[in-house]
Symmetry: C2
Subunit: 368 residues, 2 copies
């Protein structure tokens, strides 16, 4: 029965699906009356009214003035998504700073805070204390600005299990086996956790250099090099949440020692600590990306972080890949530079919470 | 409207979905009466009867004797999937032979033919002539055995575009830009085309070492080394159909020349033409798979073809990966050997046709 059972959809799922469609329609196509909404998502006007009442009780929509746009006869009351008054908290731990931001449902970054400090020379508990402080500051400012945060997520530079929120290893922080659930109590909600480059890839997809792409590879360079793999619009997390670690794709098995314990990883050849020249960085990137392109066949590679700094490196990598990949002669892979700033992972963390809210508005409790 | 429109399902799609569920239910759970089928897939008995009539008119099911299993009162007539009388043709071009097989809807390989010959020293037209001959022989035998072939597909060792059925390059055959549509007329149907290792991965998923896995990497060794990537149960084809080329993942950028034109690919280090010892093959595999595991984080690696021959190589690669990957200490990646024979790509080719038939039974024309 598994295949058959898997395909059946219960009534709760249908309702969540309708709520999601209605909210997305309001965000993408703008405010509308209940009658127009009913037509947009293909339900009766009575169902549309019930859906609107549900979303209003969760404070996800607001009701405005009368309008006759798109309808004949008596004007209906316009309904709009609460794009500016609902948001999510995004947090990010880097080697040399912590970041907090608040992104609203309309996609705007409304609040950003950074606190510099060397997190490599600090015990995890103390760094998490810094995260808590900057998060609380951001939440307080959000409250003052009339933004209700429906949740939050944290980006970390290492291998994590998003379901248990255990961090296994963050080589460049020198962290091993850290429990990241301890911030929940201070923040008042269950904080999501994911790898920073995975979240960066999601941010690029939502509002950066990857908008409109279905399949791409994001490579973010700094002290460490992280990556995120998006296939058919979905982030590939891997079986244990460890996918996308492009920094540990092998460039030369006899190359320099890497923070991970092995030799010759991309990170050891092209991380900011490697002392490589731009030419050497481009060469190491090409060798690693040859493997990635042959494996995944993406539309584009997006270079982020410090790797986004040089147009010359980007062009050199694109040209070398064209020459050195099997399909490069017929279908060369594009290489683009990130257009988002350095807080991309924090923005991506907030975006995951907003995406989850859009996909299932019932995750937000009824507040009426 | 895109997000909203994408989610709406028209009536034709609902009917195809019901036909698919009913056929899959008959194959997975066995014969049943119309009343039992109606309960299994959650439709009225009248709808179930109409669906049964449709599938019968396409010769995809057969009606048997009376049965009272699972029902109270008057017995219904049992309906069964035509598992043994419907099949698909699978074809495979290798460096040193061509293969044809017929797989039936129940998954059994009913007919297999191989013709040896060095396809590297032969023009494509002549090799396709050999394929046509062995295909016709297999189809004739299928007809004599009472198996109606609903379509077929061809596995090739190179980069292809499955939509246009153009082969861009097959390095080990020395083929460039070959049109593979020319067999359609001789066979009487549109022959599907795909990369051999992609099809091998699908065969492993359907009936081999990958049954029950969601995310795995298939690596098939011979003169060339091919690969297939399955993520969340779906084959990753890449944007141009070029994904999964594990043979061209870099082992050593200063390594031996590869047939693809670059240096140091896995294939140049561990293909049967490389003259590598089992130890050298294991080492090269480990270096390439380090990159693959860091990128994809699969449940398992499946070694196929000549790479499946040695238990020692398999164990050595698994142990080295455990030590040399970032997550290996916490969540080591399993390494398995293929349990399917050398015709795995031909079987996978037939499986794609059968999968398409199961997903949309209306692809088979009404023959009543």
């Amino acid at each position: 029965m598994t295949a058959v059972a898997r395909r059946s959809m219960n009534l709760g799922a249908v309702r969540r699906h309708h709520l999601s469609m209605l909210l997305e329609s309001l965000l993408q196509e703008g405010p509308a009356s209940r009658a127009v909404l009913a037509r947009r998502i293909g339900v009766t006007k009575a169902t549309a009214s019930a859906l609107v009442a549900d979303l209003a009780a969760r404070c996800l929509i607001i009701e405005g003035g009368a309008s006759s746009a798109g309808t004949s006869g008596r004007p209906g009351v316009e309904v709009a998504a609460a794009g500016w008054s609902v948001g999510a908290l995004g947090l990010q731990i880097e080697v040399d700073r912590v970041v907090a931001c608040v992104v609203d449902l309309a996609g705007a970054v409304r609040i950003e805070h950074r606190v510099d400090g060397d997190n490599r020379r600090t015990v995890p508990a103390r760094v998490l204390g810094r995260v808590e402080a900057v998060a609380k500051q951001a939440l307080a400012e959000a409250g003052a600005a009339g933004i209700r945060c429906v949740g939050g997520a944290l980006a970390v530079p290492g291998l994590v299990d998003p379901s248990t929120r255990a961090l296994f290893v963050a080589p460049n922080l020198h962290w091993l086996d850290v429990d990241l659930t301890r911030l929940d109590q201070a923040l008042g909600f269950e904080l999501g956790v994911d790898n920073e480059a995975n979240l960066g890839a999601l941010a690029e997809l939502r509002a950066g250099a990857a908008v409109g792409l279905r399949t791409f590879v994001y490579v973010s360079g700094g002290v460490g090099i992280g990556g995120g793999l998006v296939i058919d619009g979905a982030l590939v997390r891997g079986v244990h949440g460890f996918a996308g670690e492009i920094g540990h794709v092998v460039v030369d098995p006899n190359g320099p020692q890497c923070a991970c314990g092995s030799r010759g990883c991309l990170e050891a050849h092209a991380g900011t600590g490697s002392g490589a020249t731009p030419e050497q960085v481009a060469r190491a990137l090409t060798v690693a990306l040859r493997s990635v392109v042959h494996l995944v066949d993406p539309q584009a590679i997006i270079l982020g972080g410090d790797l986004a700094a040089s147009a010359e490196v980007t062009e050199r990598v694109a040209e070398q890949l064209r020459q050195e990949t099997l399909g490069g002669r017929w279908r060369p892979c594009e290489v683009r530079r990130s257009i988002l700033g350095t807080d991309v992972a924090a923005i991506g963390a907030a975006a995951t919470v907003l995406n989850a809210t859009l996909a299932d508005p019932t995750l937000v409790p009824l507040s009426a």
